[in-house]
């Protein structure tokens, strides 16, 4: 019996296109054999191979064939559908065919790249193609669903990345919610004195942007706040934000700081977070002079009133605007946004995890971040580099790669440490005239003007010793080592072990994911890479997107980055978000579930299973009804339906059964 006899209209006419992908596929899979094999399969009208199917000529070839051979089904065997499915569906559309009469076969990621033996690779490719051909026969024409999107954007994290993304979107006329956990925006950059390689002052370039954020009519700035819940999907996220009480009414406070002077504590005595404990603050304080918003807050942990309930509360009368409110409670805000940008940044490596370096044991061992505060004119020492005992160091050692490039902690290179170490070396030498030693494994200065900066440091006479330090100790052997910290290292370029006495050790700690990256990831339903940074959709082609549509990444939360890269990525994320919400609607994959009414027995099994309450029960007709707008297409109900009434577009049982038989019938 011939095919057209059961298919009045001539039945399926399939075109099969196998891509070489240069040598990526052809280097392993015998593409020609696969094509010849495909030709022998039922309903296959044409089968061709081409160097790059995704290229214009490749696409044109398919369009040509669709018209000429009246193809009504297309198979492309190339890379992962996650990469190019959209591309080829468009091709069908352009040729006047319904885009869902298409099936993609992943013979690159799932075959040529993961199989050793060419023979086996070819066989596997053939099996997958066979399966796809069986499947595509049962495809049906479908229409994409259009859903309107909210044209507002949530940005999580108020560091330089979040700030830049917020301003970009706000300037484009979109409303932005900027949520920051700390009492002020500015992030790590606000702590720096200078930025490499230009050595322009961080505050001078950052604070204008910070105040721009505070002033911008399109930006709602919520500091001291955290996202606690995210629901919905691309275009329509419902987000709940917890606003922690700062015991000061933001709208009323003008930042005159009278209250701080008035505090019953005459002098600051509590370690101040912004200066990493190197400075002191009062229970009522402002993180730093340029803090944005310029609003004070009270720390209930240290405020006597909160601890004992007894205090003159001199701050109250000091405030003319009556902004202080000891009764303030936390507030929960609910917002709806179309897109979300995560810019939650990084944390620095905890140097205590490498006891050999004596951080926390020897007072004169500092982390780079602490030194950033020391060299900062607005820092606890007013920019003077002084040891905890007040001495000015005469010899300083900077140890690179602390917690980076180390199988025991983080395998990756943190990318910024070499450059910030150079910067600190320069600043320390400039401020103190000390002899500065850099201990590095490899100098990594790939960036505009970076290598030139390295050269400048070399010219300045800073020492560079290639070798990873094994130990920092106070064990003196020679007289000149007495009372100093001794750095023991192999000078690998000379090939001898050296002991170098210094007054101050600076640990160039690496960058790590935020401690709560895992919870955040779950809340926003995105993935993390092995090392725990948020995972981009594609390292090259979708670097700021995630696997969850409508959620984008900016800055170091995606991986270690310096300021230029973070800002660039923030711009990209903003553009992606803008492109999404500006269109006004999103098209959703038509893979929703539906009920074949005559089959539904009204058993209600599916209703409880649906995570989106998309299924309701029609009492009158005693059948289940699926609200297509709510359905996300997971297919759980379909799998569970005892009577086979629940089905899923694009993943029909018939299609999947054919695929199963396909891969098995041929091995």
């Amino acid at each position: 019996m011939r095919a057209h006899e059961i298919y009045p209209n001539g039945g399926p006419r399939i075109g099969v296109y196998v891509c070489h992908c240069g040598l990526n596929i052809a280097g392993k899979v015998d593409v020609h054999e696969v094509v010849e094999f495909a030709k022998t399969l039922p309903f296959v009208v044409v089968a061709r191979e081409y160097k790059f199917m995704c290229s214009d000529p490749g696409q044109e070839m398919i369009r040509e064939d669709i018209r000429e051979h009246r193809l009504n089904r297309v198979i492309v065997a190339s890379c992962s559908p996650l990469l190019h499915e959209a591309t080829f569906r468009r091709v069908l559309e352009q040729a006047g065919q319904n885009p869902f009469f298409f099936q993609m076969v992943n013979i690159r990621e799932h075959v040529s790249w993961v199989t050793e033996d060419p023979r086996e690779a070819t066989e596997k490719a053939k099996a997958l193609v066979a399966a796809a051909i069986r499947r595509v026969i049962f495809h049906e024409p479908l229409q994409r669903r259009r859903v309107p999107v909210k044209d507002r954007v949530l940005i999580v994290g108020g560091g330089i990345a979040g700030i830049h993304a917020a301003l970009t979107l706000a300037d484009a006329g979109k409303h932005v919610y900027l949520v920051e956990r700390e009492p002020t925006i500015g992030g790590h950059m606000a702590m720096f004195d200078k930025t490499f390689p230009t050595l322009d002052c961080a505050a001078c370039i950052l604070t204008p942007k910070m105040s721009a954020v505070a002033a911008h009519p399109n930006i709602t700035l919520w500091t001291y706040s955290e996202v606690i819940q995210v629901e919905g999907f691309v275009g329509n996220f419902r987000v709940r934000v917890r606003r922690k009480p700062r015991y000061v009414i933001e709208e009323l406070c003008v930042g005159c700081l009278q209250c701080i002077d008035a505090c019953v504590y005459k002098d600051a005595r509590f370690p101040d977070e912004f200066n990493l404990g190197l400075g002191k603050r009062k229970p009522i304080y402002i993180p730093f002079p340029q803090a944005t918003p310029r609003v004070v807050l009270i720390d209930p942990e240290t405020c006597i009133w909160f601890k004992t309930g007894k205090c003159k509360r001199t701050c109250l009368e000091a405030c003319e605007r009556k902004a202080i409110d000891f009764e303030q409670q936390e507030r929960i805000e609910e917002i709806e946004v179309g897109a979300i940008i995560l810019a939650t940044g990084f944390k620095t490596f905890d140097a205590r995890r490498i006891p050999e370096y004596g951080y926390g044991k020897y007072p004169n061992v500092y982390t780079a971040l602490e030194v950033e505060r020391l060299v900062n004119a607005a820092g606890p020492t007013g920019g003077e580099v002084r040891l905890r005992d007040g001495r000015v160091p005469k010899r300083v050692g900077i140890i690179h790669c602390v917690g980076s490039r180390d199988e025991r902690f983080n395998r990756y290179c943190s990318r910024v440490c070499c450059m910030y170490s150079l910067k600190l070396a320069h600043l320390i030498k400039e401020r103190t005239g000390a002899e500065v030693y850099n201990f590095y494994i490899d100098m990594r200065t790939p960036g505009k003007g970076y290598e030139e900066f390295y050269d400048r440091l070399l010219q300045e006479g800073v020492h560079f010793i290639r070798g990873r330090v094994a130990e920092v100790t106070d064990w003196a052997i020679t007289p000149e080592e007495e009372g100093k910290l001794i750095i023991r290292v192999e000078d690998t370029l000379i090939g001898v072990v050296r002991r170098i006495p210094v007054d101050m050790v600076v640990l160039a700690v690496g960058l790590e994911p935020q401690p709560d990256a895992e919870e955040v990831r779950r809340m926003f339903n995105i993935s993390c890479s092995k090392e725990g940074f948020f995972l981009e959709r594609h390292p090259k082609l979708a670097p700021v997107s995630t696997f969850t549509d409508g959620i984008f990444l900016a800055g170091a939360c995606q991986g270690p980055k310096d300021i230029p890269d973070s800002v660039a990525q923030a711009g990209a994320a903003a553009a992606e978000a803008l492109a999404l919400i500006d269109k006004g609607y999103v098209e959703l994959e038509p893979n929703t579930a539906y009920i074949v009414e005559e089959l539904c027995s009204g058993c209600k099994t599916c209703i409880s299973l649906c995570p989106y309450n998309a299924i309701s029960f029609d009492e009158v007709r005693a059948i289940a009804v699926i609200n297509e707008a709510l359905c996300k297409g997971c297919g759980t109900c379909v799998a569970a339906c005892p009577s086979g009434a629940a089905r899923q577009h694009l993943f029909e049982d018939a299609q999947i059964f054919q695929e199963i038989e396909g891969v098995l019938a041929y091995v």
Binding site: E407, I441, R468, V469, E471, T492, V497
Partner: protein, 195 residues
């Protein structure tokens, strides 16, 4: 002045399979991941006496400088304190690599003659092999006789002190089931040869 020696190395002088052998021998493939950071050398309490620092040994193994490595004093100075192994950021089991190199050198018989350490290893091996246990007094005495006879007078006073305090018993130690032990060792020995 020392004789001027040619420092260049031609590829023909190197052994490209050396690295693979040592990896198999030491069971630490991670040595291929060495980034030459030198942590091992600076963690090593003995590197200051070595002709090549441990880091250089690893590099030389990787590149097949077989002769230099096997003849180097470094591998014999390793006291297996494992400082390098625990601190290596690439988790290379350097101590085990050193063991592997010692065994290799002994097998090839390329180590400095009358150099005490391999001699001690040999003595130790033979005694234990024969008796199952070691008797410090005799092993040390033999060691000095074979390698540093001139030092014996210098050490004799210490010897006496120890004897007087019963810390140098001369009665040779040994286990009861020696045949059993030898049967066990013979099996693995065969294995080692075939391996």
């Amino acid at each position: 002045m020392a004789a001027i020696e040619r420092r260049i190395r031609y590829e023909s002088e190197l052994d490209p399979s050396f690295a693979r052998e040592i990896i198999a021998f030491s069971g630490s493939p991670s040595l291929m991941g060495c980034i030459q950071c030198g942590t091992c050398s600076s963690a090593c309490p003995l590197s200051l006496y070595m002709d090549y620092t441990p880091r250089r040994i690893i590099a030389m193994v990787r590149e097949g400088f077989k002769q230099e490595v096997l003849r180097s004093r470094t591998i014999w100075l390793c006291a297996s304190c494992y400082a390098c192994t625990v601190e290596c950021p690439k988790q290379i089991r350097i101590t085990d690599v050193m063991y592997a190199l010692k065994r290799y050198a002994i097998r090839e018989g390329v180590h400095p003659p009358r150099f005490p350490i391999p001699v001690l290893a040999r003595l130790f091996y033979n005694t234990v092999r024969r008796r199952g246990r070691l008797t410090e007094s005799w092993t040390v005495l033999r060691l000095y006789l074979q390698t540093m006879p001139l030092r014996i007078p210098g050490m004799s006073s210490l010897g006496w002190k120890l004897l007087r305090r019963g810390r140098l018993p001369l009665r040779p130690e040994g286990i009861r089931d020696r045949q059993g032990l030898q049967r066990v060792l013979r099996v693995v020995e065969r294995q080692e040869v075939t391996a």
